[in-house]
Amino acid sequence: MAILMQTIINGIMLGSIYAMIALGLTLIYGVLQIPNFSHGALYMIGAYVAYFSIVSFGFPYWVGLITSVITLFCVGMFVERVAFRPLYDKPLINAFIVAVGLILIFENGALAIWGPEFRRLPAPSSAVIELSGAIITMQRIIVIAAALLLIAAVHFFVKKTRLGAAIEATAQNREGAQLMGINVYLMGGITFGIGTSLAAVAGVLIAPIFLIYPSMGVPVIGMAFVIMIVGGMGSFLGAVAGGYLIGLLETLVSSYITTYFTEVILFGLLVVVLAIKPTGLFGKGH
C-alpha cells in the first residue's frame, strides 16, 4: 500500500513536469504550427541557468527560478525572431528542420561549455512528510503545487486577459487575427517566450530531484510529444490531462512491470492511439 501511494505521488509529480512541458509545446504549436523539437533543450538550458545563479552566485532558490524564467522568456523570443520568423511563409517542414538545428546548437553548446558531468541543484527545503507510509520530500510537493498553480495561471491568462485572447485568436485564425489589428508576429514571439519559460520552470523544479546534464531534455521531450499526440495536438486540456496520465502510467509501469522498457511501452501506446484515433484522445479534427 505504501509502495502504491509512493508510486502515485511520484507519478503525479512526474506528470506535473510533463504537463508543464507539454503545455508549453502546445501553446507554441497552436500559434506557430511548429512541433518545437528543441523544447527539451530549452528545458535543459533553464535548469542550467538556475543552477549557475543559485550555486555560483549564491542566490536563493526562488530567485534562481525567476532568473531562469526571465532568461528563457528572452531566449524563446529571440529564437522565434531569428530562427522561425523568416520561415513563416515557407513550407512547414523547413521550420521543423530548424528546430532540429536548434537541438544541435543548444545540446552541444551546453556540452562544450559546461561539460558532460551531472550536477545536482540543492533543494530549497529538506523537509519530509509521511503520508500513509509513503515518504514525500518537500520538493515533490513544491513541484505538484507549482504545476497546478502555473497551469491555472496559463489558463486564466489565455481565457481572461486581452493579450491571452489575442494569442488564442492568432492560434485560431491567423489571417482573421491580423485583420483585427493583432500583431501576429509579436504574438508568436510572446507565445514562444511563454512556452519556453514554462519549460524552464519545469527544469528548475525537477533539478533538485533529477540531475542536470546536457542531454537531460531528451527523454522528457520524447514523452512530451507522446503526450501531445495522445492528448490531441494543440489541445490545452489534452496536454494537461495527457501529462498527468502519462506521468502516472510511466511510474506505474516502471515500478510494477519493468524499469527498462518504459519508453518503449509508452511509444507503443502512441502507435496504438494513432492507429485507433489519429487526432488524439482530446483532439478535434485537423
Binding site: 504549436y29 504550427q33 512541433p35 523539437f37 530562427a83 523568416p86 520561415l87 515557407k90 513550407p91 512547414l92 517542414i93 523547413n94 521543423f96 528542420i97 530548424v98 532540429v100 538545428g101 536548434l102 537541438i103 544541435l104 546548437i105 545540446e107 552541444n108 553548446g109 556540452l111 562544450a112 531528451v218 527523454p219 521531450i221 520524447g222 510529444f225 507522446v226 501531445m228 499526440i229 495536438m233 527498462y260 522498457f261 519508453e263 518503449v264 509508452l266 511509444f267 502512441l270 502507435v271 494513432l274 492507429a275 489519429p278 485537423h286
Partner: protein
C-alpha cells in the same frame, strides 16, 4: 518546341553522363591517391553515409515527410545484421539482406499508423520512435549488449570469383570497393525510381496531396512504399557499417545520427540525387577536419543547418542551379532539368 526541349535534354543527358563517368573514375582511383588507412577509412564511411543519406532523401526530398528516425533505422539495420552474424552464425551475405528486411519490417509497422495522418504527426512520431528504440537497445543488456554494444563483428566473408580468384574483405580498400559498388547501385536505383511512374506519383504527393488523391493516386500506398524503401537503405548502410567497423554501440542508433544524415541531405540539396551524395562526402570530411573542436563542431553544423534552410533551402545543388539560372553562359544551357 517539344523537339528543342528534347534535344536539349539529350545534350544535357550526355554532359551529365560524362561528368558522372569522370566522378566514378575519380572514386575508383581515389584509394591510390589517399594511401593512409585513416583517409581510406573516412572514404568508406562517406560511402556508408551516401547510401543512408539517399534513403533519407527519398522520404524527405521526394515524399516531403521529415523522418527523424532515419538514424534509428540505420542502427536497427546495424544491430540486426550484427546479431544475425554473431548469435545465429549467419554469414554476412545473408545477414545483410535479412537485416535490411528487419529494418523494413519496423519501418512498415511504424509507417502505417504515422503516415496515415498528415503533416505534423510523422516527424513527431518518428522522433519518439527514435528515442524509444535508442533506450530499448541501450538497456536490453542480454540481447544487444546494452550500453557496451557489440564487439568482434566479423568482416564480410570472402567471395570466390569464377576465375579461381577470391576477394576477402579484411583490407580497408576491399571494403571501400564493396561500399562504392553498393553506393553506385543505390544511386542508379534512385535515379530510376525518380524517373519512374512511382517517382512521378510521389512527387505529385509532395506537391499537393489532395490534388494527387483526386487524380486517383493511392497516396497512402506510395507513401508507405517509399518510406519502407527509404528505411531499407538506412538498414543497408547500417549493416555494412556494423560489419566494416566490427563494433556497434547504442550511440549508432541515437537520433543524433538522424540529425547528421539530415545535415548531409539538407546541405547537399534535398530532393536531388547529387545533393545527398555531395553532403555525405563534404560534411563527414569537414567533421573530421574540425574534430579538435569536440562538440563545438556540432554547434557549428547546427548554425550551418539553420542558415542553409533560411537562405539556401535546396542546399549546394540549389545554389548551383540558381547561379546557372543567373549566369546561363556558364554551361550554355538553362536549368530546370533533373
Amino acid at each position: 518546341m517539344e523537339r528543342v526541349i528534347d534535344t536539349m535534354y539529350k545534350k544535357s543527358k550526355y554532359k551529365k553522363l560524362i561528368v558522372c563517368s569522370i566522378l566514378l573514375i575519380i572514386a575508383i582511383v581515389a584509394p591510390f591517391a589517399f594511401t593512409s588507412e585513416y583517409n581510406r577509412h573516412i572514404m568508406v564511411m562517406c560511402g556508408v553515409w551516401i547510401i543512408a543519406a539517399l534513403g533519407l532523401n527519398l522520404i524527405l526530398g521526394y515524399v516531403g515527410q521529415l523522418n527523424l528516425a532515419h538514424g534509428t533505422f540505420f542502427g536497427v539495420g546495424a544491430y540486426a545484421t550484427a546479431l544475425l552474424m554473431q548469435k545465429a552464425g549467419i554469414p554476412f551475405w545473408w545477414a545483410l539482406p535479412l537485416g535490411c528486411l528487419a529494418t523494413a519490417a519496423l519501418g512498415f509497422v511504424t509507417g502505417i499508423p504515422t503516415l496515415r495522418t498528415r503533416g505534423h504527426y510523422f516527424p513527431i512520431a518518428t522522433m519518439c520512435l527514435g528515442i524509444a528504440v535508442y533506450y530499448a537497445i541501450a538497456r536490453w543488456d542480454d540481447f544487444t549488449g546494452g550500453a557496451c554494444g557489440l564487439y568482434g563483428i566479423p568482416r564480410p566473408g570472402s567471395i570466390s570469383l569464377p576465375l579461381a580468384k577470391t576477394i576477402d574483405f579484411e583490407s580497408t580498400v576491399a571494403c571501400y570497393y564493396l561500399v562504392l559498388l553498393i553506393a553506385v547501385l543505390t544511386i542508379i536505383l534512385m535515379l530510376r525510381l525518380v524517373k519512374s511512374l512511382t517517382g512521378q506519383r510521389i512527387m505529385a504527393v509532395r506537391g499537393n496531396e489532395d490534388l494527387a488523391q483526386s487524380l486517383g493516386i493511392n497516396t497512402m500506398k506510395d507513401k508507405i512504399v517509399c518510406f519502407t524503401l527509404s528505411t531499407v537503405f538506412a538498414g543497408l548502410a547500417g549493416g555494412i557499417f556494423a560489419s566494416y567497423v566490427g563494433a556497434i554501440m547504442p550511440e549508432n542508433a541515437h537520433f543524433l545520427v538522424s540529425f547528421e544524415m539530415l545535415l548531409y541531405v539538407m546541405i547537399g540539396g534535398v530532393g536531388t540525387i547529387a545533393g545527398p551524395v555531395i553532403g555525405a562526402i563534404l560534411i563527414p570530411v569537414l567533421s573530421e577536419i574540425l574534430h579538435f573542436m569536440g562538440s563545438l563542431r556540432l554547434v557549428i553544423f547546427g548554425f550551418i543547418l539553420i542558415l542553409t534552410i533560411q537562405f539556401l533551402p535546396f542546399g549546394i545543388i540549389g545554389g548551383i542551379r540558381v547561379a546557372l539560372l543567373r549566369y546561363p553562359g556558364l554551361t550554355g544551357r538553362s536549368v530546370g532539368s533533373e
